[in-house]
Amino acid sequence: MFQQRYLRAFLRIPLTIAFVGVFVIALVRLAPGYGIDEREVDLRFSAESIEAMRGQHVPFALALQSHFGRMLRGQWGTSEVFGAPVDRLLSERWRTTLVSVTMGLTLAWASALLWAGLGSLYRPLDWTGSAVSISLLSFPSGLLAMALFLAGAPVSAGIAIAVFPQIHRYVRQLAAEALNQPCIFAAAARGVSRSALVYRHVRALISTQLWALVGSSAATAVSAAIPMEALCGSPGLGQLAWRAALGRDLALLLPLVLCMTAVIQLASVASELLQTSSPDPVAS
């Protein structure tokens, strides 16, 4: 039973990557700009050389086979904007993004758990936490990035601010539901203090459900990394994606999107497996 679940979870990663690849290539083919090339106005290229460079007459199925085949063989191509091999660009920059995203997520989780926990004890903190979450949800990450850049704050702080509302709202809601459980009422009736209720009993009740949020918070953090790194000048994968998009560099964008999908899927599968392998708090 468990083995089947693990197998299904891990099979989802390559399946999603393949689906995203197909979807991206289909989107690109359907986009109104497909087949239009600014090199047509560059006198250094002839019509034949441009045709050879873009290879637009390749049928969809063949294009898919060629893209995936090359990637599986480790030939990720060369970026048109940077004039460097894609795998080298990715390997040079992934550490910066990993550090920013990990630090941002840690900061966001710690502050959201602390604020939601204290909010369960003190009503004013609950209201302010809720107001802060709603306010932060109304700020585009790009605007936050600009503000942080002007203030000289690190990218991880921006990622933390972008992820915080999602975690805080969920934890707050879970805590409120848990506080209304009969077992909590029974514990309160036996004289357990409010703080002990929150830190011992409520925490145990909601911990399993919190694992489910790890995957989606990682996805939010990865997405938030694009504007943060682009506008704060941090040399990570987000900035790479932005510059590739501005330069219409599909050779770089496609592998980048597939790598990001793999990371998001890994986080999602990990959170799912952690959730299913956690003991049932009520039964234990």
Binding site: L15, T16, F19, V20, F23, V24, L27, V28, A31, P32, G33, Y34, I36, E38, I134, S135, L137, S138, F139, P140, S141, G142, L143, A145, M146, L150, A219, V222, S223, I226, P227, A230, L231, A241, W242, A244, A245, L246, G247, R248, D249, L250, L253, L254, L256, V257, M260, T261, I264, Q265, S268
Partner: protein
């Protein structure tokens, strides 16, 4: 109270967007080469940009794009969600499993990266309206999985409801049963989903705009008006540059308040 305040803010913003032509004598693309980068004055309420275009006019016209097209994208994603969610809920079995799995697949895709790719593939001379349309249609096409899950769950739960059994006993069946009898009962859920999606789409467009990948020039949107901020370090000395950010945040806060009151009507 929050609901009234939110509705008032949104009404003021929507009315100013709709009446932009009457509120300002300038066109959003008209350039005054004699007066570039001007500070606010009685002639130009929020000054002019580097090309001498009136910032106030561009702000009002930008509100049109953000405030009117985001609801259209939300309607599109809701329509897709209702069609797929209803089919999954009614059919059940393998069809439901397949449709739910595709919703999971869609929701696990890196949205912003996909939008970047499609936006990057648009030709440089794409018309402003085409870029607006493509951006929001894509948002609508990618945003259905969340609402679909809600519709599917509600449909599955409603299968054994008394009013549906009664309708069946009266001879109502097939699509009529689900579209005419059941769908109206989903109204509160769909409304809540609609209000939740709009700020999300406005935010995404704003983020694309800030990165210079949103709506094409010369068409203004709150997103591409914010792009100007990235080059201005003197924002503190020129606070009027923050007007698009203030409008955007006010609109989003109002929508958050409204969606909260829609999903929690008893508390308001």
């Amino acid at each position: 109270m929050i609901r009234i305040l939110a509705i008032s803010v949104l009404t003021v913003l929507a009315l100013s967007a709709l009446l932009a032509g009457f509120l300002t004598p300038y066109s959003y693309e008209a350039q005054d080469r004699e007066a570039p980068s001007m500070a606010p004055s009685t002639k130009h309420l929020l000054g002019t940009d580097e090309l001498g275009r009136d910032r106030f006019t561009r702000l009002l016209h930008g509100a049109r794009v953000s405030l009117l097209l985001a609801p259209a994208a939300a309607l599109l994603s809701l329509a897709i969600a209702v069609a797929i969610g209803l089919t999954a809920g009614v059919a059940g079995g393998p069809i439901e499993q397949t449709l739910s799995a595709s919703a999971d697949l869609f929701s696990s895709m890196p949205w912003l990266f996909l939008l970047l790719i499609v936006r990057a593939m648009l030709p440089l001379d794409v018309s402003a309206w085409a870029s607006v349309g493509i951006t929001f249609v894509l948002l609508g096409l990618l945003g259905w999985p969340g609402a679909m899950r809600v519709v599917r769950a509600s449909t599955t739960a409603a299968k054994s409801e008394g009013f549906l059994l009664q309708a069946r006993a009266m001879g109502i069946g097939g699509p009529r049963l689900w579209i005419r009898q059941f769908l109206p009962t989903l109204r509160p859920v769909l409304l809540a989903q609609f209000w939740i999606s709009i700020p999300l789409y406005i935010l995404t467009e704003a983020n694309l705009g800030i990165l210079g990948l949103g709506v094409s020039e010369p068409m203004p949107s709150w997103g591409n008006l914010l792009f100007e901020l990235s080059g201005h370090r003197e924002v503190v000395d020129s606070p009027w540059l923050l007007a698009p950010a203030a409008c955007l945040v006010a609109a989003l806060l109002a929508m958050q308040g409204l969606s909260k009151s829609e999903s929690n009507p008893a508390r308001t």
